[in-house]
């Protein structure tokens, strides 16, 4: 055995060129796969992050009736008296903030706006003192200031403001309907502009304080949702389930409420999903995301199709080079057999050699892939900086980052070696089946 290993090693170092070419095929294939996978994953993670940090929060508690009609935003299906629930969440150590979301029509009047007009908008009312526990809007204010608890002004998304030609200090009237259906007119002004990495928010955000919304819409303390901060990784769904059962509310999955949860005394269960008016439900960001606007560029580009195609090219590159390397040595095998080497030993020696090439290629490939990943994770590339001279409409500040994917890196490493050995097996077997003289005649 020791002899076989040292023979394989000698062969590897003797045919340096062949080793380099075959190993480099493996290395480039692996590095490319790791890099593209990390990049696509990074783009997806980033859009998830943007979604969770600015739109959905990791999870929300809503009245079941409200969640069922999320786009309609029915104020009468709110969480009445959210105080005890917030206190309970506080005692469980979960960061939470109440919000009220309603739809309204923004009325814009000529002077200071360039023209008369109106736009419908989703207005988000937040508690400026607790919203930062879950979201990150204070740091996203690009002009003007953040909201204060006794504020009557609004924050607006930077792109929306650009589209409407609105500036800080401009007055805006919001026409909406309060709880119970009465019409209400809210005269307010823009106190700040918000520029986040989330395009959907930049294009649509209108934000006021929950204190003002409570007054204008006659909410009497009712809010439409309580947004929670939970760690995203690992068993996120399990965490949602666990917290939901601690609170005694059902959690929502893929459009159906989980029924295993036994409601705690005092909580009103949602019957058959969501009809019961007073029932609360807890919804994770994945289910919420269906109803939001975020753009997932990575998904859009069909990442799985791209990865499959990358894998095909890489696999053909690896197996082709390897097949060729072994086929070309039928003659050498004939020579060794003629000198009396056992078939089994010879096969083992060749497989060891293939494993050696696979190992060298995988090490270099993984190292290169990790290095490229590391740069893309730490620094990223600004795709749109290259487009500075082009008029792309919006100012998209989008540095694209990669994400680490240890699983794929390990799998790529193992596959690199296994595939080399597997591919080497067939031509070796073929050569061993031939008679020695045939082997020697083979060119």
């Amino acid at each position: 055995m020791k002899f076989l290993i040292s023979l394989s090693w000698k062969n590897l170092s003797r045919y340096r060129k062949r080793t380099i070419i075959t190993a480099s095929a493996i290395a480039v294939g692996l590095a490319m796969y790791i890099f593209i996978d990390g990049w696509l994953r990074g783009a997806e993670n980033e859009s998830t992050q943007n979604l969770v940090t600015y739109e959905t929060a990791p999870a929300k508690i809503m009245a079941a009736g409200y969640y069922e009609n999320l786009r309609r935003m029915p104020l009468q299906d709110g969480i009445e008296n959210p105080g005890p629930l917030l206190a309970k969440l506080g005692s469980l150590g979960v960061a939470a903030t109440p919000r009220t979301v309603f739809s309204g029509e923004l009325i814009l009047n000529k002077d200071p706006f360039p023209e008369n007009g109106s736009v419908t908008a989703r207005v988000i009312a937040v508690d400026p003192t607790t919203d930062e526990r879950v979201y990150d809007f204070r740091n996203a204010v690009s002009e003007g200031r953040y909201l204060t608890p006794d504020d009557t002004g609004i924050l607006m998304g930077a792109w929306l403001a650009e589209d409407l030609k609105a500036k800080v200090g401009y007055p805006i009237t919001i026409v909406t309907r309060g709880r119970g259906g009465f019409y209400q007119t809210i005269d307010t002004q823009i106190v700040g502009l918000v520029n986040t990495p989330n395009p959907a928010i930049n294009r649509s955000l209108v934000m006021m304080t929950i204190q003002a919304a409570d007054r204008y819409l006659a909410m009497k303390g009712t809010v439409t949702e309580i947004d929670l901060k939970l760690p995203l990784g690992g068993n996120f769904d399990g965490r949602v389930e666990a917290l939901a059962s601690q609170l005694g509310v059902p959690s929502y999955h893929n459009g159906t409420a989980s029924i295993e949860v036994t409601p705690a005394p005092g909580a009103i269960p949602a019957e058959g999903g969501a009809q019961a008016a007073g029932g609360l439900t807890m919804v994770g960001w994945r289910d919420l995301a269906k109803d939001y606007l975020s753009i997932a560029v990575a998904k859009q580009s069909g990442s799985s199709i791209i990865l499959i195609l990358v894998f095909i090219i890489a696999a053909v590159g690896v197996s082709n080079t390897m097949l060729m390397a072994i086929y070309e040595r039928t003659r050498e095998m004939g020579m060794m057999r003629a000198m009396g080497m056992q078939d089994g030993e010879l096969r083992l020696a060749f497989l060891f050699e293939a494993a050696g090439i696979g190992l060298i290629g995988s090490v270099i490939g993984v190292a290169a892939g990790v290095l490229a990943d590391w740069y893309m994770v730490a620094r990223g590339i600004d795709i749109f900086a290259m487009l500075r001279n082009m008029d792309v409409g919006y100012r998209i500040a989008s540095v694209s980052h990669s994400s680490w994917n240890p699983q794929v890196i390990v799998i790529a490493f193992v596959v690199g070696i296994l595939m080399s050995v597997l591919v080497a097996y067939f031509p070796t077997r073929r050569a061993l089946k031939l008679s020695i003289t045939d082997c020697l005649r083979d060119t």
Binding site: K17, R18, I21, S24, A25, V28, G29, M32, F35, I36, N69, R71, R72, P74, L75, S103, E105, I107, L108, F113, P114, E115, N116, G117, S118, V119, R177, G180, G181, A289, K290, Y292, L293, S294, I295, A296, V297, K299, Q300, S301, G302, I305, I306, L309, V310, I313, V316, G317, N320, T321, L323, M324, Y327, R329, R331, I383, M386, D391, V392, I396
Partner: protein, 410 residues
């Protein structure tokens, strides 16, 4: 001639090696062809949806409206659009012309108002433009002059309405008054864009004019051309004729001059460009590796023919011809396989509805990859050039070695 003859014989002499070498070119070519067809499919899909539902190939609007379109200032309108529609229809190269009024409205309900996007359209003309009759899923299309609307299934479900039910639309008129009309839902239409299914209500344009107090005016005229590539030139010509023919406040823009659409398309182009680049790099290494391996393994053979008297130049040419033949075979086969696969997928379509969940780009749920002959030929040419050039370098090195040295390598 002599050398090409030897090259051909060499290829058929070692079939196995030739097959491996051809496979590399074939797979690399095929994968890139499929990728570009896929990208082409997405691009065409965005283009068609944008042109059907948003901008047409060319869009005419009031300049003032266009400058402030997000406020929907419907007071900046196209007065009496019909003669203009007729006139543009008669121009050569025009497929279809429609007038439309996009407006924001609310569906009035007992406790709340649900915001929706309204679109006043000429249903008869839209049969040739957005192919509205093919989108109809249930019921019938509204008739002009009647208070009837059609809407997407998601929105219908949210509002809890069925065909035959009544809904009340509430909107601000052109002069900023409030107006409401009650409509009967005459049918359900399924739009190819998921986003529209949950928000869009189509009403006859005369009813929209009544609701918004616009008289006989429209907000925009959309033009579809036989050849969308000529949009920019057509828009330019149309713009200048508009101002000289008594429509000084109107302006025609081609779809790629509209900034929001442009930013979307540029973003997609850049991302696909990057992915394409990576594919070319990866495919090139595969091609170069395989070709180099083929030559390298034959150092001994090169030594033999060198010893028999073939000059270095002839050896290089021999191997170049060989590589070229293999590359052409592989590339042609790759183009055929990749093209066939793309055409097949183009007919079946790739269902992206899972992948596109929550995405509000202008893409449909099903992507039909689009086979493009020009791109495919360029990709094939690229593979041929890389593979055959990759043969020259190692062949030259091998030809320079003394025959005795070359013969010693195994």
């Amino acid at each position: 001639m002599k050398i090409t003859g030897i090259a051909i014989r060499n290829i058929s002499r070692n079939v196995r090696r030739s097959i491996l070498s051809v496979t590399a070119t074939l797979v690399a070519t095929m994968a890139i062809v499929v990728l570009f067809s896929f990208i082409g499919g997405i691009r065409q899909n965005i283009g068609e949806n944008v042109s059907d539902f948003i901008s047409g190939n060319v869009r005419i609007r009031n300049t003032e409206y266009d400058a402030n379109e997000y406020m929907m200032p419907i007071q900046f309108r196209i007065q009496d659009p019909q003669p203009l529609v007729r006139k543009i229809e008669s121009e050569p190269g025009v497929t279809s012309v429609v007038e439309r009024i996009p407006f924001g409205a609310g569906v009035y309900r007992e406790n709340d108002t649900v915001p929706i996007q309204g679109l006043g359209v000429d249903f008869a003309a839209e049969k040739g433009f957005m192919k509205i009759d093919r989108l109809l899923h249930e019921g019938k299309l509204p008739e002009a002059g009647k208070n009837e609307v059609v809407l997407g299934p998601t929105l219908a479900k949210e509002l809890g309405v069925k065909v035959g039910d009544k809904i009340t639309l509430l909107a601000q008129t052109m002069r900023r008054g409030t107006n409401a009309i009650t409509f009967t839902v005459s049918g359900i239409v399924v739009f190819p864009l998921a986003g529209l299914n949950g928000s869009l209500i189509l009403a006859p344009i005369d009813r929209a004019q009544r609701l918004l107090g616009m008289g006989g005016a429209a907000t925009e005229i959309l033009v579809k051309l036989d050849d969308p590539a000529g949009s920019r030139a057509f828009a330019k010509r149309l713009s200048s004729s508009l101002s000289s023919e008594g429509y000084p406040d109107l302006e025609a823009k081609s779809f790629d001059q509209i900034s929001t659409i442009l930013s979307l398309m540029t973003m997609a182009e850049v991302i696909y460009g990057f992915i394409g680049l990576f594919f070319f790099v990866l495919a090139s290494t595969v091609l170069i590796n395989t070709t180099m391996m083929v030559i390298y393994e034959r150092t001994r053979e090169i030594g033999t023919i060198g010893a028999l008297g073939m000059t270095g130049g002839e050896i290089v040419r021999l191997f170049f011809y060989e590589a070229l033949t293999l590359a052409v075979t592989g590339a042609v086969a790759g183009m055929i396989v990749g093209g066939g696969f793309s055409i097949l997928l183009g007919n079946i379509g790739i269902d992206m509805s899972d992948a596109l969940q929550g995405v509000d780009l202008s893409t449909s749920n099903i992507i039909y990859p689009r086979f493009q002959l020009g791109t495919t030929l360029l990709i094939g040419l690229y593979s041929i050039i890389i593979s055959s050039l990759a043969a020259i370098l190692p062949a030259r090195r091998a030809a320079k070695i003394e025959p005795v040295e070359a013969l010693r390598t195994i």
